[in-house]
């Protein structure tokens, strides 16, 4: 547990990291608790359209072109964004770590084969894949998660592979081979825990980019039509951009805050996790 305390001490030295964490916790709080505090469904028309923020205290963020509560949309959107962001990242990590570990540890033909596959997936344009998948399957949360993880895992695989290639030659790994340890155990018990730091740092960035991608897809109308996501809201507000710019701006600000928070946390994690190497 002393390790956690040390980690926190190093983390909180960077003010921006602490701010990022606070913002992130705020967003998570909103996502968790918010939907119970605001009106049930963000798709419900509850008031006159084009209501500006601050005009009516019952609807502090105003209403959109059809009269839906924007605050409700933001709150539910938080949940959607975080769910998709986390799920897509988890899937990308699962695939990427496995591929990277196998390629980096065994090298030779498994490495060549897996790297060709990785390159293939890296060249797929995100939105094109989304359009294709949405055309084949119905647009849904699952489709988006699949799209995002499909284009994200290669970066994870590359990172993990690089770490494995270098760690595998280290003497402590050789020592495990010498005592007769099985390969699976070496990969998961010995090497993987030692490359967690860069993976963790990358994860926060991945969640941020997943949220951005999801917003983009929803904006284009490729997202789940039943979910009110921030991207959807921006898309809806697009038509009224000239006069009622708040309809797009407010969800846009929500995205910016969340992505910024994730990036700051990522930087903070990076600084907090790396100094251990300097402590020799």
């Amino acid at each position: 547990m002393a390790a956690w305390r040390d980690f926190w001490r190093r983390y909180r030295r960077k003010t921006s990291a602490v701010i990022g964490l606070a913002l992130l916790l705020l967003v998570m709080l909103v996502a968790l608790v918010g939907p119970w505090l605001v009106s049930s469904d963000p798709w419900d028309i509850v008031v006159r359209p084009f209501l500006w923020p601050g005009e009516d205290p019952e609807f502090p963020l105003g209403s959109d072109i059809l009269g839906r509560d924007i605050l409700s949309g933001i709150v539910h959107g938080a949940r959607v964004s975080l769910q998709i962001g986390l799920a897509a990242t988890a899937a990308a990590l699962g695939i990427g770590v496995t591929v990277g570990a196998v390629a980096g540890y065994f090298r030779g033909w498994p490495d060549d084969l897996l790297m060709r596959i990785t390159e293939l997936f890296q060249t797929i344009p995100t939105f094109l894949l989304a359009v294709v998948l949405v055309a084949i399957f119905k647009p849904s949360m699952l489709t988006i998660i699949v799209v995002i993880s499909a284009v994200t895992w290669p970066a994870v695989a590359r990172l993990v592979r690089a770490e494995f290639l270098s760690l595998r030659e280290r003497e402590f790994v050789q020592s495990c081979v010498v005592i007769g340890m099985s390969e699976a155990r070496i990969i998961f018990q010995q090497i993987l825990p030692n490359c967690l730091a860069p993976i963790i740092v990358m994860s926060s960035i991945l969640v941020a980019s997943a949220i951005l991608t999801e917003s983009g897809l929803s904006f284009l109308g490729l997202g789940d039509p039943n979910l009110m996501s921030w991207g959807t809201m921006i898309g809806i507000g697009r038509e009224a951009m000239r006069t009622a710019w708040y309809m797009s701006a407010l969800p846009g600000i929500a995205i910016v805050i969340t992505v910024l928070a994730l990036n700051l946390v990522g930087e903070g994690l990076n600084d907090a996790l790396n100094p251990r190497l300097k402590n020799r």
Partner: protein, 327 residues
């Protein structure tokens, strides 16, 4: 029990590279007897570390055989290799890289026992504590991580781990090269004591002749992948026959100002050639003051010149009267 504990026969380890074949180990045969320490010395590129790693199974030889107590290791099945591993362990050079930084010292020492399913959890823990104490570590050390210890202490952890499976043979790959003199002495003394207590055999690999001479019973000198001379410790220093061995001994700065200094003698010229495409015939001929035409044409075989004394040089011979002549 006449079978040597370790018998290496014609081992070759060749690596293909873009510039040519890297001949890391180029035909080495050696024997190690039970309870003895065989020192392996040489400078960079001589292949001693690669040979050590080949013996312990980290590197696959291109050709040749390695027999542990008569049983062939090269090409052994996974199960067989695992059984051999329990009898043969390794101590590594870099105390900062040879321990998993995320594990506690106790875990590190226990690990070999867990891998081979020896004893239950409590028994393993007790054995690990006993090992740690034997190598001079406090039982409190068990819960700490490697980065909290000095280089010498980490090396002790590595030794305790190597002892866990009660091996008969330990390959020591430059175990003290990264340590300060006083710490080096601690670790060397520990290794000598452990050998006596447990009847261990060591293959002691080092570039430091003074250390090897102190700890080894017999010494083999390597140059560019080959053994050039091989003899009992005392004889190597009192009667070195191969020109490279002599050059190596002359080059070591002796910690005694009364001994002839480096300024006073003819030192060997030139640098070690690359192991890719080494000189033809005798690899040492490019730097040897006695090189002649035959040295470029034919490779000198490792010949027995006296009891327990082998040399690979065309000009070392035993005359009819029993006297040994060397260039």
């Amino acid at each position: 029990m006449n079978v040597p504990l370790l018998a290496i026969d014609a081992i070759q380890v060749l690596f293909p590279t873009r510039q040519g074949t890297l001949r890391a180990v180029d035909g080495v045969s050696l024997e190690l007897r039970r309870g003895e320490t065989l020192g392996l010395v040489g400078e960079s590129g001589c292949g001693k570390s690669t040979l050590g790693k080949t013996i312990v199974g980290l590197v696959k030889p291109t050709r040749g055989s390695v027999k542990l107590d008569g049983a062939e290791i090269v090409g052994a099945s996974r199960g067989e290799l695992r059984r051999h591993r329990a009898r043969m362990q390794m101590i590594f050079q870099d105390p900062y890289a040879s321990l998993n930084p995320r594990l506690t010292v106790g875990r590190i020492i226990e690990e070999p026992l867990g891998v081979h399913n020896i004893g239950n959890k409590r028994e393993r823990r007790e054995r690990a504590i006993a090992l740690a104490q034997r190598v001079g570590l406090h039982p409190e050390a068990m819960g700490r991580h490697p980065h909290e210890f000095s280089g010498g202490q980490r090396q002790r952890v590595g030794i305790a781990r190597a002892l866990a499976l009660n091996p008969e043979l330990i390959i020591c790959d430059e175990p003290v090269s990264a340590l300060d003199v006083s710490v080096q002495a601690q670790v060397i003394n520990l290794l000598v004591d452990l050998q006596r207590e447990h009847g261990l055999s060591y293959l002691f690999i080092s570039h430091d002749l003074s250390v090897v001479q102190h700890i080894a019973d017999r010494v083999a000198v390597m140059y560019l992948g080959k053994i050039v001379e091989h003899s009992p410790r005392a004889r190597l220093w009192s009667q070195p026959l191969h020109p490279y061995t002599r050059a190596l001994i002359d080059a070591v700065p002796v910690p005694d100002p009364e001994q002839p200094g480096l300024r006073d003698q003819g030192l060997i010229e030139g640098e070690i050639p690359s192991s890719i495409d080494p000189p033809s015939g005798c690899h040492f001929r490019t730097r040897c003051p006695f090189a002649a035409a035959v040295c470029a044409e034919r490779e000198p075989p490792l010949r027995k010149i006296a009891e327990e004394h082998w040399v690979a040089c065309h000009f070392v011979e035993r005359a009819a009267d029993g006297q040994i002549r060397a260039p």
